[in-house]
């Protein structure tokens, strides 16, 4: 009996539990206000499922994908501020290859100037290399991650603008449309891509020793170096993965709008991704990380946004609501508050133990 109670208090102390409770509460409020919030319908013409829940998962795809990499970066004790700018870079390169020269190919249509493999491949490679650049500054230069990635955050959008001469291209190339707007197994394509990415990152970190290496470097880089872990390589790989994932998110984003938008693509994505990770229970000081928690964190952020849209609150005011709900989640997760709850449950246990 006592054993079970101890387990329960352990769960209450876990940050992931609080994230799940928060998400459940927000969904409950949605359901109470709009009972049809959970309804999912099938549209035979497009062969896709529709509904608020599907929409939340679909629209959270970019942040979920990026925050998979961000989880690893934060587990290392760092942050990557450049992901939003990389989203813009990926979109700019993809659209550049699709349209190349607007003067020759004046109207957007169902064509691509360069082979499709380059349209998808080059942005991903460039983003991975930019991630590698971040990792190099951190691992070999010994620079704090937040400053090292500030560099690409500041000039990344500039690079995206220069690549496209400050122009915004649009395209109608149908294979490109599939990434952001197509469907597979009745589900929107971004959800499928997200699931693949999450599973891949989870397998890579949990089925190999890599996840343990990351946590070990995050807790104590010099100790892990002494125990034979190549901290530098771990950092390089983690930043490269984050860059690559930002590239994937950038392709999804630009496929949704079938255009490149170097000013707004990925704006504040780094903030949302970091929030998703922290709400998901990974400590910003580094160490243990939870990929499942991050997925829930990302869903919470998107649920709040959908909630606000759904109930007709001014779209731009979303941020204020997001801030309030996140503030509650973060305060609940904060160390003193969790300690307070732990103390209370321990007291209750002691009291019930005394009564016996």
């Amino acid at each position: 009996m006592t054993m079970k109670k101890t387990d329960f208090s352990g769960i209450m102390q876990s940050k992931v539990t609080w994230a799940v409770i928060a998400e459940a509460l927000i969904l409950l409020v949605c359901f109470l206000i709009r009972p049809d919030f959970f309804s999912i319908s099938y549209q035979p013409s497009t062969g896709m499922l529709y509904g608020s829940l599907i929409d939340i998962v679909n629209r959270s795809a970019e942040i979920t994908i990026i925050s998979m990499g961000m989880t690893l970066v934060i587990a290392l004790g760092g942050t990557d501020l450049s992901v939003g700018a990389l989203v813009a870079v990926a979109g700019a390169i993809a659209l550049k290859f699709l349209r190349w020269d607007v003067l020759t190919y004046t109207t957007p249509g169902d064509y691509t100037v360069y082979p499709y493999i380059l349209v998808l491949g080059v942005p991903l490679i460039v983003c991975a290399l930019m991630g590698l650049f971040n990792g190099f500054l951190v691992a070999k230069g010994g620079i704090q991650p937040i400053i090292a990635t500030l560099i690409l955050m500041v000039c990344g959008r500039g690079i995206a603008q220069i690549l496209t001469d400050g122009k915004q291209f649009t395209t109608g190339y149908s294979p490109f449309r599939i990434i952001g707007q197509g469907s597979f197994l009745c589900l929107p394509m971004p959800i499928i891509i997200t699931v693949i990415v999450v599973i891949a990152v989870a397998l890579f970190t949990r089925k190999t020793a890599f996840g343990a290496f990351v946590e070990s470097v995050g807790v104590n880089p010099s100790a892990s170096r002494l125990s034979g872990i190549k901290a530098g390589s771990v950092i390089l790989i983690v930043f490269m993965i984050t860059g690559l994932l930002s590239g994937i998110a950038g392709l999804i984003y630009s496929s949704r709008i079938m255009s490149n938008d170097s000013n707004n693509a990925g704006l504040n994505f780094e903030m949302d991704a970091i929030l998703a990770v922290v709400i998901g229970g990974t400590n910003m000081a580094g160490g243990r990380f939870s990929l499942a928690g991050t997925v829930i964190g990302s869903l919470i952020i998107r649920t709040i946004v959908t909630f606000v849209y759904y109930f007709g609150i001014v779209a731009e005011a979303t941020m204020a609501f997001k801030a309030l709900i996140i503030a509650v989640v973060i305060v609940l997760q904060s160390e003193p508050v969790r300690r307070y709850f732990a103390k209370r449950s321990a007291l209750r246990q002691a009291r019930s133990g005394g009564a016996k």
């Binding site: 942050t79 500054l137 230069g141 010994g142 620079i143 704090q144 937040i146 400053i147 090292a148 500030l150 560099i151 690409l152 955050m153 500041v154 000039c155 990344g156 959008r157 500039g158 690079i159 603008q161 220069i162 001469d165 400050g166 903030m271 970091i274 929030l275 922290v278 910003m284 000081a285 001014v314 731009e316 005011a317 979303t318 941020m319 204020a320 609501f321 997001k322 801030a323 309030l324 996140i326 503030a327 973060i330 305060v331 904060s334 160390e335 003193p336 508050v337």
Partner: protein
């Protein structure tokens, strides 16, 4: 020599190796200024007006950078400054134009909001142990959201007092032919520039000449030892975020005077520009190191790049972002080399 307190000469104090980053910033500023003079000297780059405009066009960044430098020295970060400054502008614009309040009432309300939010964030950071990045990010979301709740459109500011304050200027004069005349091309200093320079001086005074300032450095150097020495760590940190809130509001007022309107999306990303100013001014993001003189030249250095691009006339303004990024890279490398060689010694 140990135990003997010897008053250092001015030269001795100025050549203290701890100021080396500040000198690096000043040197690079001078190099870029000379470069601009060499390329565009004949187009008027060397005039007093161009130089003074660096202050006029970036005063609001500079005012905010004063508070940011202090926050960074404690080892924290504040991402809310752009949004709080923008919200201040909204308060003034909505208050005077829509609600017909006196600007001073709006400014007072903005001060209460900004300083209150700063103190609250400082309290959450210290007493609830939430990372500064996350706390102030939430503060940024909140302030930006409230901006949009107030209005989604840009509101012009029309009020005699604001117009008078924005239009007030001191012309720079020179003594020629026995009387004072305005220099040509006409250059002037306005309220924003004076506020900026005053805030730099106040910030330098707080950091170098008060116990509060020494506590800030001590906390940034090592928070645990500062607490063990009995320094009021919590109070200092909360007050630093409060002071930064004050700086954000003053920056917002300065920006409102500069553009004479309030817009819910103004100064987006401003917080990073401000952090960039502080970093290229020699402030370490790890805390413990930073000087107001460095921040002053950091602001000038960051603002001279757009000026050069304007003088060139052919370059896309996006090159400015890339140049700023490269400058940041250069400074980080210099800092790295200096700290590494200091560690070896």
């Amino acid at each position: 020599m140990a135990g003997v307190t010897k008053k250092q000469s001015l030269w001795g104090r100025l050549t203290n190796p701890k100021y080396i980053m500040v000198y690096a910033t000043i040197a690079i500023f001078l190099v870029i200024y000379a470069f601009g003079a060499f390329l565009y000297g004949n187009k008027g780059f060397l005039t007093v007006r161009t130089f003074v405009n660096l202050f006029i066009d970036n005063a609001y960044f500079g005012i905010s950078a004063v508070g940011m430098t202090m926050v960074l020295i404690t080892g924290g970060i504040d991402l809310s400054v752009g949004a709080v400054a923008s919200l201040t502008g909204m308060f003034i614009a909505y208050g005077t134009t829509v609600l017909h309040l006196h600007p001073l009432t709006c400014i007072f309300a903005a001060l209460v909001m900004g300083v209150g939010l700063g103190l609250l964030m400082g309290w959450v950071i210290h007493y609830l142990n939430v990372p500064p990045f996350i706390t102030t990010l939430t503060g940024m979301f909140f302030a930006r959201g409230v901006c949009s709740l107030i209005s989604r459109e840009s509101i012009d500011i029309h009020h005699p007092m604001i117009d008078a304050l924005a239009g007030w200027k001191i012309y720079l004069m020179k003594f020629a032919d026995g009387k004072w005349v305005r220099i040509k091309p006409i250059a002037f200093i306005n309220f924003n520039v004076i506020l900026f320079l005053a805030m730099i001086l106040i910030g330098a005074f707080i950091l170098q000449r008060t116990r509060f300032g020494r506590n800030i450095y001590a906390i940034g150097g090592n928070e645990q030892s500062a607490a063990l020495m009995g320094l009021p760590v919590g109070r200092t940190k909360v007050l630093v975020y409060g002071f930064n809130g004050l700086c954000s509001v003053l920056a917002g007022i300065s920006y409102a005077l500069y553009v004479k309107s309030g817009w819910n999306l103004s100064l987006q990303g401003g917080e990073l520009e401000v952090i960039t100013c502080a970093v290229i001014g020699g402030t370490l993001l790890t805390g413990g190191v930073g000087y107001m003189a460095g921040t002053l030249f950091g602001v000038l250095l960051k603002s001279i790049i757009p000026a050069l691009i304007t003088f060139n006339g052919n370059l896309l303004s996006w090159w400015g972002k890339i140049a700023t990024g490269l400058l940041l890279l250069l400074f980080i490398c210099i800092q790295r080399v200096i700290t590494a060689s200091a560690g070896k010694r």
